[in-house]
């Protein structure tokens, strides 16, 4: 590998550039075996993948450990993906890899994760672990559609869903801040509570019928100018309002966290609450607000599920998305743009898994487990470990 490092140095590439080149090469290795290029032999891909791995190792040696490992992983995954693709039938590949549709599906699946992850960032940056994201999302999902049904307006539904998530966020805040509960246990309790409450009201109100079909749902945004442009039109020409909102929230929260006094206070409370307290920042109030906001954001993710994606509610419909959002937070190193990347990665894996029944019905079932395996890989730190906020999980006691 030292030859690779030496070659890179001669070419004048920094470790960072090498890493990104590796990630890109890994992706290309897979991409060329898929439609429309459809290279039918694995050899060029394997060569590309090996170069990607080498670049990753060199990059990691050069100090970019996280990125370098990512490149190695991208190389390995790209190589395997390419070999699998060259062994599969062309017709099947054409059916699964319709890029514009995949891209659109990726954003659809990424939206709830992104809302959840942004919520997780708010809470955890203020120093409170939020394992209850799943439950808060579930509350949003049920009460969103419930509100829209009762009041006959999707807008009111969205508000009700946000409020329901926020209420549960507030409960988590009371227990973890005022009562100094074990935050993980309290979060788990929140999840059970949400499952019970939503299931109870769902059965009590809708019975065996399920939610009615004619509930007003969140509208899609049609972009008339680009609707007919080849790839972009299909990919983002018609997306849910909430997807746009999630994408917009990423820079908004990033600016809030890093460019405003409020964001600085929130981060300081999560890093060194004692120091923050000593300069007059209200530690407990900041945490209350952050955790409640976290619940509202997760609730919005749930609203998206019931009012925009599925158009109905069924018990436990979040299916672990709150936990995946938590992994997205870790993947993104507690940063909004990182969370965007993570949400897209998981969204993409779900989008591919959703189209796999073209190959084999029963294997497609197994592929439902793919996002969860990915989470396992992420928390195992195979892509490098990131540092959580210093005061996370520690209740603050004023002196």
């Amino acid at each position: 590998m030292s030859t690779a490092t030496a070659a890179a140095r001669r070419a004048g590439l920094s470790a960072k550039q090498l890493g990104w080149a590796g990630v890109l090469l890994g992706a290309i290795a897979w991409y060329i075996t898929l439609p429309p290029l459809l290279v039918r032999t694995a050899l060029p891909s394997v060569v590309l993948a090996l170069v990607a791995v080498a670049a990753g190792v060199a990059s990691a040696r050069g100090g970019e450990i996280r990125l370098g490992r990512g490149a190695v992983l991208a190389g390995v995954a790209g190589g395997i993906g390419a070999i699998v693709a060259t062994k599969s039938g062309e017709a099947n590949l054409e059916k699964v890899f319709v890029w514009s549709a995949l891209f659109a599906a990726m954003l659809r699946f990424a939206t709830p994760l992104l809302f959840g992850a942004l919520g997780g960032i708010m809470s955890e940056r203020s120093g409170v672990i939020n394992v209850g994201l799943e439950g808060m999302m579930l509350m949003g999902a049920f009460f969103g559609i419930f509100g829209a049904d009762v009041f006959g307006s999707w807008f009111v539904g969205v508000l009700v869903g946000i409020a329901a998530g926020g209420v549960l966020g507030f409960v988590h805040a009371v227990f973890s801040i005022a009562l100094r509960a074990d935050q993980v246990v309290s979060g788990v309790a929140i999840n059970f509570l949400a499952a019970g409450i939503t299931g109870y009201v769902f059965i009590a109100h809708y019975g065996d019928q399920g939610t009615p079909g004619e509930v007003p749902s969140v509208p899609d945004v049609k972009l008339p100018l680009i609707e007919d442009v080849a790839f972009i039109g299909d990919a983002i020409g018609e997306m849910s309002l909430l997807t746009w909102m999630a994408l917009l929230l990423v820079p908004v929260i990033a600016v809030y966290l890093y460019r405003t006094p409020g964001g600085l206070r929130l981060r300081s409370v999560g890093e060194k609450p004692r120091a923050a307290d000593s300069v007059g920042i209200p530690v407990l109030r900041t945490r209350y607000l952050a955790v409640t906001a976290s619940g509202c954001l997760a609730g919005l993710g749930g609203v998206y599920l019931s009012l925009a994606l599925v158009h109905s509610f069924n018990q436990g419909m979040t299916a672990g998305r709150g936990f995946i959002a938590l992994a997205v937070v870790i993947f993104g190193a507690w940063r909004p743009y990182g969370a965007l990347a993570g949400a897209c990665l998981f969204g993409f894996s779900s989008a591919v898994a959703q189209r796999l029944p073209a190959f084999s019905e029963s294997l497609a079932v197994l592929f439902q487990a793919l996002p969860y395996v990915l989470v396992l890989i992420v928390v195992a730190g195979l892509i490098g470990r990131s540092r959580p906020p210093a005061a996370i999980g520690v209740p603050y006691v004023k002196e």
């Binding site: 509960a181 019970g196 409450i197 870790i330 487990a369 969860y372």
Partner: protein
């Protein structure tokens, strides 16, 4: 022998039974769990009331569904027979709850939070159903042992993976065990789904496993085997509680487990391998949960449908069982009995639908479960209420000094 350590507070205590009891009472004793459960049931009743049902009639119907009134000597005749049938169902459901409760409790004692009881239970039941439906013609007892061992090992491996990830790369066991739950679920659904590798041979349109052979069915010791009587798995679960207690309190492993749980840094300084302990602890947890899966399969399910795997919540209830039982051996049995009763009392089979819909009631169980865990997470809440209550009491009696009372 190691210095005796108070299991609740983690402080060394003197060894006399009286002082032990006093220490336990200071930590809330049995009062706190009882209050916790009471509070959860009260709030659950409030939910029932708000949604326009009669909470007292509801709880009474649920209680009648548990069959606990069999214990009352004045219940006779047909009522007694019905109660016996219901109690058998309650105890059948209590059996796995004890074991998954142990799986969570054992991890807690080592400072780990095992939310993966469900996944470990699923892989255990998959292993049991596979072994139990293959190798026909094997002697019954040997076959049962083989199926149980396979299930335990599968559970141990599944949980051990989370322990291994924690020990080697520091992956948070909360997230990894939750993910392993989902992976186990989809693995199970895949195996038995249409066209899946372990789908049954008889009917290709049913997503069900093969039946386990007749000779591995666990013997029924109370009730009619045909009507799902109580199988001997209950005794296995109770024996597991004994083993749990022995490992924890009378073995070097248990001492290390508790030491790591109380303070990993100090344990490491004392020469214990924290990493090794994490793997070992999780594997033992998985053993218990996998055993639960085996007992359910061999005791009364006899086959697994993809639907069974998807709706099963046993492993998650284990968290509430362990927390309410304060992670102790006896506490786990009591808490498992409570939730076992709640499960069977709210089941389609036992709850009178004219009083309260079973589907609503099962969600009520989940609410109560959540409230229990929530209240236990903040022990200060119930303890504070208790202290305040005692304070009121004291003031009314114009109070002996607090120190004096604590001495007594």
């Amino acid at each position: 022998m190691s210095e005796p350590v108070d299991q609740l507070e983690g402080t060394p205590v003197a060894q006399t039974p009286a002082s032990r009891l006093a220490a336990y009472m200071r930590g809330g004793g049995v009062t706190v769990p009882l209050l916790t459960a009471l509070l959860a049931f009260l709030l659950g009743g409030l939910v029932v009331l708000v949604t326009g049902h009669d909470p007292i009639a509801t709880y009474k119907a649920i209680f009648e569904g548990t069959g606990f009134q069999w214990l009352f000597p004045w219940v006779t005749g047909v009522d007694r027979e019905t109660a016996a049938l219901n109690l058998q169902q309650t105890l059948i459901l209590t059996t796995p709850l004890i074991l998954v409760g142990l799986a969570v409790a054992f991890a807690f004692r080592a400072g780990l939070f095992n939310i993966g009881g469900q996944g470990q239970y699923i892989v255990g039941s998959i292993a049991a159903v596979w072994v139990g439906s293959s190798f026909a013609g094997m002697p019954g007892f040997l076959h049962i042992v083989l199926a149980v061992v396979a299930a335990c090992l599968a559970g141990a491996a599944w949980a051990g993976l989370a322990g291994f990830l924690k020990a080697t790369v520091g992956a948070n066991e909360v997230i990894s065990t939750i993910m392993l739950n989902y992976i186990a679920l989809w693995l199970g659904v895949y195996l038995f789904s249409l066209g899946g590798p372990l789908q049954n041979d008889r009917d290709a349109s049913l997503p069900v496993s093969n039946d386990v052979v007749e000779s591995v069915h666990l013997p029924v010791f109370w009730g009619d085997p045909v009507l799902q009587g109580l199988h001997i798995g209950l005794f296995v679960a109770l024996a597991a509680v004994g083993i749990f207690w022995l490992i924890l309190n009378r073995s070097t492993t248990g001492y290390e487990v508790r030491a790591v749980g109380l303070n990993p840094e100090a344990a490491r300084y004392g020469g214990m391998s924290v990493a090794k302990n994490y793997v070992l602890v999780m594997a033992i947890c998985g053993l218990f949960a996998g055993l639960a899966g085996a007992l359910d399969v061999l005791g009364w399910q006899f086959r697994l449908a993809t639907n069974d795997i998807q709706i099963s919540q046993v492993g998650f209830l284990g968290i509430a069982v362990a927390l309410l039982g304060r992670n102790t051996a006896v506490g786990t049995i009591a808490a498992a009995l409570l939730f076992g009763g709640l499960l069977s009392g709210t089941s389609q089979r036992n709850l009178d639908p004219t009083i309260f819909e079973p589907e609503l009631a099962s969600n009520l169980t989940t609410i109560i479960q959540g409230l229990v865990v929530l209240f236990v997470s903040a022990d200060v809440l119930v303890l504070g209420m208790l202290r305040r209550g005692r304070g009121l009491f004291r003031r009314r009696r114009s109070a002996p000094p607090a120190e004096l009372e604590a001495e007594a």
